[in-house]
């Protein structure tokens, strides 16, 4: 009996357990939409679904790759000419006994898969509504600017966020922005007015970008520079309503903090400080130093320097003026101003400086540098209000006091009033060297003090002749007929008559011989007040008068000290020869 092929059914069972058929599917052949071969192994059976919008795909695996076409023919024949209304395309549960009713069997090791297509209505072409074609619906994050696209609510919401809710007209209920924004540096959320610095209140406007309508440069009259470019580091100067000028000869380098004015013309550049104020006060060039902390003594407050080149065209500093702090103490502040020049080796040396003194209103001044420096004063040197020295080097007439030293006055005429006797009486130190006074001198009183205990120390009349050396200091000598000195001896007239003296050193012509006065001899002579005689011991003086036959008794002085040898020496011209 022939069967209507469309009333046959195709059966698929993916349950692998024998006797079970969980989730098995069966389709009328009339719902078969087609069979697709995929990679020679898989075959997808497509069936129309029951809802008109769905479909089911059953994927089976064929065991013989080379016979896919043969399988197609076989299933076609089975559908059209087979005797079974219920065709088991694949029955996984019965794979060991009857896997398929189709002549070419399925691969029984691979379980078929069922894919139930979404029941949603799928429209892949345009839909025309009221004459307007719609071909797509944009979902979240999608937006196509087209009259043929509709948008979901999520897409609309995302689109609003994407374009920052750019709308026209007035928001009906909005009172505040979800997130505040900053306008000209001022936060604004829409709940209140804002005041912009430089617009509605004092302050600077914060702007960026290019002002509307400004294509290139803004004219001076509108607050611009009027120039398209300005030289780097150049200082700007005005030029009426014309563009601001960048002065290439006047530059400021922020990297080195240097302001420089250059010129190739002689006598230029120059800096002028011109005051047109009708006052007695003048202009000022001020150097200010602020360390931000307490300053220190010696801090430099400013320098004015003259620089040039040497013969080798090496940069050289030749002169400068600097101001410094001498003393920072609060209430005792003192300054230090100095002028320096290069001193013969390029080294800057101070030649004139004014330094704070150690008392109020006192300034110390130093001139020159080194002992060989020369200071020249063209006019008269005035000390205080009194001229002190002319430009010819002559001291002026003012009384000089307390001259502590004048060195050697090699020429000229000394002229002045008599030296006060008080100054001479007190001065025992400045007439110690040999002096020769000629003419008549009257000394009313000659003062003789007791000499010291040093042998030969003497005050009195001293002669420097005799040409005798190797004399004993403090010994008594007799002047012989051969014009030399010998030790005096009371043993004979020949050695103690005539001129007697005390040797004041080893050489008579150099150290002298005392003829009369106070002296210290080199031996003890007796008790204080004793009359002293020439001793029979050569060179000695004794308080014991010689008593031997032919001895000479001659008084020579008086003892002033019993143990130090000080005597008053004044030999008597007469003597007595003892006859015993």
């Amino acid at each position: 009996m022939a069967l209507d092929p469309k009333k046959k059914f195709l059966y698929f069972n993916k349950d692998a357990t024998s006797g079970e058929m969980d989730a098995a599917l069966c389709f009328p052949v009339s719902r078969l939409a087609g069979i697709m071969i995929k990679t020679s192994t898989f075959m997808d059976f497509h069936f129309d679904g029951s809802k008109g919008t769905d479909a089911t795909i059953v994927r089976v695996t064929h065991e013989q790759h080379a016979f896919q076409k043969a399988f197609m023919i076989a299933i076609t024949d089975e559908i059209n000419f087979g005797e079974k209304a219920f065709i088991r395309v694949i029955d996984q549960a019965e794979r060991s006994t009857l896997a398929s009713d189709v002549t070419i069997n399925m691969l029984t090791d691979v379980v078929p898969t069922f894919t139930i297509q979404d029941t949603n209505l799928i429209i892949s072409d345009e839909v025309s509504i009221g004459g307007h074609a719609v071909n797509d619906i944009d979902v979240a994050s999608e937006f196509v600017d087209s009259d043929e696209h509709l948008m979901t609510s999520a897409a609309i919401n995302d689109r609003f966020a994407q374009i920052n809710a750019s709308t026209t007209g007035n928001a009906a209920t909005a009172t505040a922005l979800a997130s505040a924004v900053t306008i000209g540096g001022v936060s604004f959320d829409g709940t209140s007015n804002i005041d912009l610095p430089g617009v509605s209140e004092t302050g600077d406007q914060s702007t960026s970008g290019t002002a509307a309508g400004l294509s290139s440069t803004l004219v001076v009259g509108s607050g611009g520079t009027g120039a398209t470019t300005l030289t780097s580091n150049a200082v700007l100067t005005g030029n009426g309503s014309s563009a601001i000028q960048a002065e290439s000869a006047l530059t400021y380098d922020a990297d080195t903090d240097t302001l420089q004015l250059t010129s190739s013309s002689g006598g230029f550049p120059r800096v002028e400080l011109k005051s047109e104020a009708n006052t007695s006060s003048g202009q000022r060039l001020v150097f200010i130093k602020d360390r931000g902390a307490a300053p220190s003594d010696g801090d430099t407050l400013g320098i004015i320097r003259w620089e040039g080149e040497d013969s080798g065209q090496n940069a050289t500093s030749y002169a400068q003026i600097f101001g410094k702090i001498s003393d920072t103490t609060d209430g005792s502040e003192g300054g230090h101003l100095a002028l320096q020049v290069a001193s013969h080796d390029g080294e800057m040396t101070v030649g004139l400086e004014l330094i704070d003194g150690d008392a109020e209103d006192e300034i110390d001044v130093n001139i020159g540098s080194g002992a060989s420096s020369v200071t020249t004063i063209e006019g008269t040197l005035t000390m205080g209000s009194t001229a002190a020295m002319t430009n010819a080097g002559l001291l002026s007439v003012a009384n000089q006091s307390n001259i502590t030293g004048v060195g050697t006055i090699s020429s000229g005429v000394w002229q002045g009033t008599a030296i006060a006797s008080a100054n001479l009486d007190a001065d025992t130190a400045h007439l110690t060297t040999d002096q020769t006074f000629t003419g008549k001198k009257q000394i009313n009183i000659r003062k003789f003090a007791v000499t010291s205990d040093t042998d030969g120390n003497a005050i009195g009349d001293v002669v420097y002749f005799g040409g005798t050396t190797s004399m004993t200091t403090g010994a008594l000598y007799h002047y012989k007929s051969d014009s030399t000195w010998e030790l005096a001896d009371a043993d004979a007239v020949a050695t103690c008559d005539g001129l007697l003296g005390i040797a004041l050193g080893a050489a008579s012509d150099t150290n002298g011989v005392l003829l009369r006065g106070m002296v210290t001899v080199d031996h003890d002579t007796g008790a204080v007040g004793d009359v002293l005689f020439v001793s029979t011991t050569a060179g000695d003086i004794t308080a014991t008068a010689p008593s031997g036959n032919t001895d000479i008794v001659r008084v020579v002085g008086y003892c002033l000290h019993a143990s130090n040898g000080q005597i008053w020496f004044n030999p008597d011209g007469a003597f007595v020869e003892v006859t015993a």
């Binding site: 022939a2 092929p5 069979i35 192994t41 679904g49 076409k69 559908i79 297509q117």
Partner: protein, 151 residues
């Protein structure tokens, strides 16, 4: 009269089918009864790609009754066979494009139509590139990739 006798020889069924007057719903006076032939014809397509260079790859078997239209391209070198969507999508068709000799579309479409209408085989090979078997000699290739990515 409903003819339900089966099997009839294919030659007889084909002969009967060719003489059927569809407007009158009868066979041109030779028969006094109506005959319904219960045959579902399938159209077969296969590309010339191969798995492991051995097995023909990718093919399709579609009931002829789902063929909706055939259309020759503007330049006359392609013939598109459109079928009702396998996924039941609306506004889109399952399409298979064949390369044909230019201006041979009419002859190719006629050959397909006649085979569907009068052919004796239920399994109709339209284009089998792998075996160089085409229903008409002016079909040169299957352009569509038959990998199942149909709408």
């Amino acid at each position: 009269m409903w003819l339900t006798a089966w099997p009839l020889t294919l030659d007889l069924l084909t002969s009967l089918n060719r003489r059927y007057d569809y407007e009158k719903g009868s066979f041109g006076g030779l028969f006094l009864f109506r005959i319904f032939v219960f045959m579902i014809k399938f159209l077969f397509f296969q590309s010339d790609s191969y798995d492991n260079t051995i097995y023909p790859n990718d093919g399709a078997l579609i009931p002829a009754e789902r063929l909706a239209d055939m259309e020759v391209s503007a330049d006359g070198t392609d013939l598109t066979l459109s079928f009702n969507s396998m996924l039941q999508s609306k506004g889109v068709a399952t399409e298979i494009v064949l390369s044909i000799v230019e201006d041979s579309g009419r002859e190719v479409m006629a050959a397909i139509s006649e085979e569907i209408a009068f052919g004796r085989e239920a399994f109709i090979v339209i284009a089998d590139e792998a075996n160089s078997d085409f229903i008409h000699g002016d079909i040169t290739a299957v352009e569509t990739t038959l990998d199942g990515s149909f709408a």
